[in-house]
Every structure is written in structure tokens, then in C-alpha cells.
């Protein structure tokens, strides 16, 4: 394992110190319990927006704390969900009287830890809602599984809900919006290589010299199917088809198309993939009204990509376009 780290146990803390040093205008980092909170405080009466999850997916979620997106984020250890005490402290820090929405990616650990945090926060008198994001079409959604994972859709949802909270949405309305976004977004990812959790020191899985993993999650957990590497255009089609069919997206739909690098994919390849994704969207009669291209929800140095598509009405597009100023996403500000 070659990594730009010191002690593997210190990676998360030291990276957070780096974020704090780089973005004092945007965010503040608290330790013990660990959370990242916007530097300028939550405006009175605004619903607080909190997310969190394992580290190693940067810029998500810490990099989305600032103005117009998340008010706080709780980073866990690498690929390990954070703990309820972190979430409780962050929830208290961003409650400005209007309650707090927790955006939770559907992983057993995240869900259970957030659940415990909610129990704690509510016993402390804060109105907390939580929406579980489960946009990954690679996973069969049945009562016999943990359900679909929360992946790329989370990025779009955090942006959109952040704008809505800024606009003054109530906790009820924000919860409804978040649920509606989740209902209208689908994702699927793939990997060409594994990644190595610093404390594990070895790749989470092995892929042969000409193998790829289709339907990968964002924690290096194996996906739906292992197969021989194919040309990029075919890979993109393998991701796009299940996405389009699942919602289903329909001829005439306006969509936000998000092609995401898993971390180790050169940007030139991400754009190459975007080309095909946009072409396929068009062939399905979809109108790509907005897009996002680059590494936003990553799995350390994993090479691969994920595609996310959200059905976007005018409201959603307006919220998408609203100013955002965070380390990882910024426009209009």
C-alpha cells in the first residue's frame, strides 16, 4: 500500500485539519465528537441540513458544508459510518429553531447510527427528520436485502435540499422535497480497480488485469457482476440502461445527468464517458437540462465511474441553479 498518509489511524483527523486550514471562511471542524459545521452559523429559523457517512468519499460530505448546501457533516472513519454522538452534537450545533433534516445513505451502519442519533436528539427536544437515500439500481430492492444503497443521487439531493433550506422551506416541506428527489433519482456504478482502506493496508477486493466490477458500491464492496473489461461506450450503456428502465425515465423527461469519477479515473475518461451518457440520454428522448461531471462521490483511489440521473422539474432546476459555496461545489457565489 502506497499512500500519502502518516499513521493510518490519523488519516481522517489530519485530513480534517487540512480542510479546516484550507477553508476557514466556509467551515469549522470539531473533534471529539467529530463533525464539520458551516463557519457562519445557521441563520435563525432555517432548517439545518446534516449528512454524514464514512470518510473516503471526498468531497462528499465534508466538502459540501458551507453556504447553500449542508450545514454540517459527520465523517466516520474511512468507509465506516460515523457514530450517534457525532450526529447528535452536529444536530445540536445546527438547530436554529426550525429542526434538522438528516440525509442518510442507505447502508445498514449509517441507518442504524443515524437512528440512534435521532432518538437522542429528539429526547433533547430537537425536531429531527431523516430521509434515507437509496438510488442504486445495482441492488435488488427486496425485503430479503438491506435495500438499495445510497450513492450518487445523494450529491444532487444535498445540493437541491440545501438550496431549498436557504429559500426557507419548512422541515415538513424539506423532508417531502428530499423524498421526492430520492424517488426521482437513479444511479449505477462500476470499477476497474479496487481501493485500499488505509488501516486495512490491502485492496478491499481483487480484480484481474482485464476484469471490471459492474454495480459497485461506494465502499469498495463488490457489485452485481464481474466481467471482462469492455470499451467505455459499452460500459456506459451497461450503466445507463438499468437506470433509464428502473425509474422508468420517459420520453420527454427533463433530467440532470451526473457522471461521477470514483476517484482514480482521469478526468479525460470521465468526459469521454459523459459524451456517451449524454448521447444515450438523448436517444431515450430525455432532455439533459443540467449536468455534473467529475469526482464528487468517490471511493478513495478506485478507478471507475458512476452515472446518476434525476428527473428534474422546474422547481428542482431552480434549486439546482441557486448559489452554492462549499469547498466541493460552487457556483453563483
Amino acid at each position: 500500500m502506497k499512500k500519502l498518509i502518516n499513521n493510518p489511524d490519523d488519516v481522517v483527523r489530519e485530513a480534517l485539519e487540512g480542510m479546516a486550514a484550507a477553508h476557514p471562511d466556509l467551515l469549522t471542524v470539531h473533534f471529539d465528537p467529530t463533525y464539520v459545521v458551516r463557519a457562519d452559523g445557521v441563520p435563525d429559523g432555517k432548517v439545518g441540513l446534516l449528512s454524514g457517512g464514512g470518510s473516503g468519499h471526498e468531497p462528499m460530505h465534508n466538502g459540501f458544508v458551507g453556504r447553500g448546501m449542508l450545514d454540517a457533516a459527520c465523517p466516520g472513519e474511512v468507509f465506516t459510518s460515523p457514530t450517534p454522538d457525532q450526529m447528535q452534537a452536529a444536530t445540536e450545533a445546527i438547530d436554529a429553531g426550525a429542526g434538522v433534516l438528516h440525509i442518510v445513505k442507505n447502508y445498514t451502519g449509517d441507518v442504524m447510527n443515524f437512528e440512534m442519533a435521532e432518538e437522542m436528539a429528539e429526547s433533547g427536544g430537537i425536531d429531527v427528520r431523516s430521509v434515507v437515500i437509496d438510488d442504486d439500481v445495482a441492488v435488488e430492492d427486496s425485503t430479503y436485502t438491506a435495500g438499495r444503497r445510497g450513492v450518487g443521487g445523494t450529491v444532487l439531493i444535498e445540493k437541491i435540499c440545501g438550496a431549498a433550506a436557504d429559500k426557507g422551506y419548512s422541515l415538513d416541506d424539506l423532508e417531502a422535497l428530499c423524498t421526492r428527489c430520492n424517488d426521482n433519482v437513479r444511479s449505477m456504478g462500476m470499477a476497474l480497480t479496487s481501493c485500499t482502506v488505509p488501516t486495512a493496508g490491502e485492496p478491499t477486493f481483487d480484480l484481474g488485469e482485464d476484469e471490471m466490477e459492474i454495480g459497485i458500491g461506494i465502499h469498495g464492496e463488490p457489485g452485481r457482476k464481474r466481467m471482462e473489461v469492455e470499451p467505455a461506450d459499452q460500459i456506459v450503456e451497461r450503466l445507463m440502461t438499468p437506470i433509464v428502465e428502473d425509474l422508468p425515465f420517459k420520453d420527454g423527461d427533463d433530467v440532470i445527468l451526473f457522471v461521477n469519477s470514483m476517484g482514480g479515473t482521469p478526468l479525460i475518461e470521465v468526459y469521454l464517458a459523459y459524451r456517451k451518457a449524454a448521447e444515450l440520454a438523448e436517444q431515450h428522448g430525455l432532455r439533459v437540462v443540467r449536468n455534473l461531471v467529475g469526482p464528487y462521490i468517490t471511493s478513495l483511489e478506485m478507478a471507475g465511474l458512476s452515472i446518476t440521473m434525476m428527473r428534474a422539474d422546474d422547481d428542482i432546476v431552480e434549486l439546482w441553479d441557486a448559489p452554492v459555496h462549499t469547498p466541493g461545489m460552487r457556483w453563483g457565489a
Binding site: P33, G54, G76, E77, V78, F79, T80, S81, P82, T83, P84, D85, Y107, T108, G109, M112, N113, E115, M116, A138, V139, E140, Y144, T145, A146, R149, V197, T199, A200, E202, T204, F205, G217, H219, G220, E221, P222, G223
Partner: protein, 210 residues
């Protein structure tokens, strides 16, 4: 001699030591069907728990301390699950000065219920429940038969071990491994493995207790 607080301390220390020893192995199991952090998670949570244990604390305070330590430091799925296990198990110790086989059976039964309340796993979902449930049943049988604790807990550890081994052919239905579907077959569940260590640590720590 039945169990008192120092015996619980010894048990938790033995559990922490075992997990520290097997940390890499647990992580390897988790890499195969999960995300490769179960060893680190458990080790982080348990070393914190050991640090927090107060030698003079009562049984129920000890269990609560361990629960809170695990909840706040473990992370992942195992944090809330083991945290709830200790939290709910600990509640059963409140009314007792000391624990014999029936009380230990009740303690683990409450822990199992907590795990299932929190995680909604059924038997054969390929989770820690598959090691814990047979252990609880063994303890309850032993309690019914009046088996002394040292023997009962050894039977429970044996049952947990069998349960752990029996997870290998199963298809996972809960947790991260469930994403693998069919491909989760043929791998032993990491959480069931750490749960076996939990029972085995008790068997070791209480080998001369009645």
C-alpha cells in the same frame, strides 16, 4: 461462585484482547463480503471500552459504559448492534448482585433481542444473530438443566462457533454482504465471527465460575 462485576470486566477485556489479536482476520473476512473494516471497527470500539471500564463500577454500570463506548467509537453496523447488545443485556443485571447460569442466559437473551430490534435480522440472514441465537439457546437449555456456569458458557461458546461456521454457505440478507447476493455464499460472516469471540471470551474468563 457466580459472576460479579470483576468477572464482567475480565470478560470484556478478554473479548477486546481476542478481537485485537484477530483484527486482521476479521477485516479479511469483511473484505471478502463487506468493506474490510470489521476488525478495525471492533478493535477501536473495544479498546475504548476497556479504557472506560471502572474497576469499582457495578455490573449494570459496566455494561452501560461498554455500550456507550461501543456506540460512540465503533461506527459501522457493528457499533449500534454491539452497543445495543450491551445496553439491553446490561439492563438485566440491574436487579442482581451476582449472576448464575439462568441470569447469564437472560442477559444474552436480552442482548440478542436488542440486536434483532436494532438490525431486524432473522436467523440464517448470515449475521451475528446466527452465532448469538444458538449460544442463547444453549444457555437457556443449560439453565433448565441446572448446568453450572463454567460448563454452560462453554456450551454456549461451542454453539456460537457452530453457528458462526454455519454462516459460510448462507446467502446474506442483511448488511453490506447482502449486496453480493449469491456471491456471499462460501464466506464466513465477520460479525458472527466476532460474536463467537464474545462468547468464547466469556467461556475463558468464567472457566472457574458456577
Amino acid at each position: 461462585m457466580p459472576l460479579t462485576a470483576p468477572d464482567l470486566h475480565a470478560w470484556i477485556r478478554a473479548f477486546a484482547d481476542r478481537v485485537a489479536e484477530e483484527r486482521a482476520y476479521l477485516t479479511k473476512l469483511d473484505s471478502a463480503i463487506g468493506d474490510g473494516d470489521h476488525g478495525q471497527n471492533m478493535n477501536r470500539g473495544l479498546s475504548h471500552a476497556v479504557d472506560q471500564i471502572d474497576d469499582d463500577a457495578s455490573m449494570s454500570d459496566t455494561m452501560r459504559t461498554v455500550a456507550m463506548a461501543l456506540i460512540s467509537k465503533t461506527g459501522g453496523a457493528s457499533g449500534p448492534l454491539y452497543g445495543t447488545l450491551f445496553m439491553d443485556a446490561g439492563k438485566t443485571t440491574a436487579e442482581h448482585e451476582e449472576l448464575g447460569t439462568p441470569e447469564v442466559a437472560a442477559l444474552f437473551r436480552a442482548g440478542l433481542n436488542g440486536v434483532q430490534r436494532r438490525g431486524k435480522a432473522e436467523p440464517n440472514d448470515k449475521t451475528m444473530v446466527d452465532a448469538l441465537l444458538p449460544a442463547v439457546e444453549a444457555l437457556e437449555d443449560a439453565a433448565e438443566n441446572g448446568t453450572p456456569l463454567s460448563e454452560a458458557i462453554q456450551q454456549a461458546a461451542n454453539a456460537a462457533k457452530k453457528g458462526m461456521e454455519a454462516t459460510t454457505p448462507l446467502e446474506a440478507r442483511k448488511g453490506r454482504a447482502s449486496y453480493l447476493g449469491e456471491r456471499s455464499k462460501g464466506h464466513q460472516d465477520p460479525g458472527a465471527t466476532s460474536t463467537y469471540y464474545l462468547l468464547d471470551a466469556a467461556a475463558t474468563a468464567w472457566s472457574d465460575r458456577a
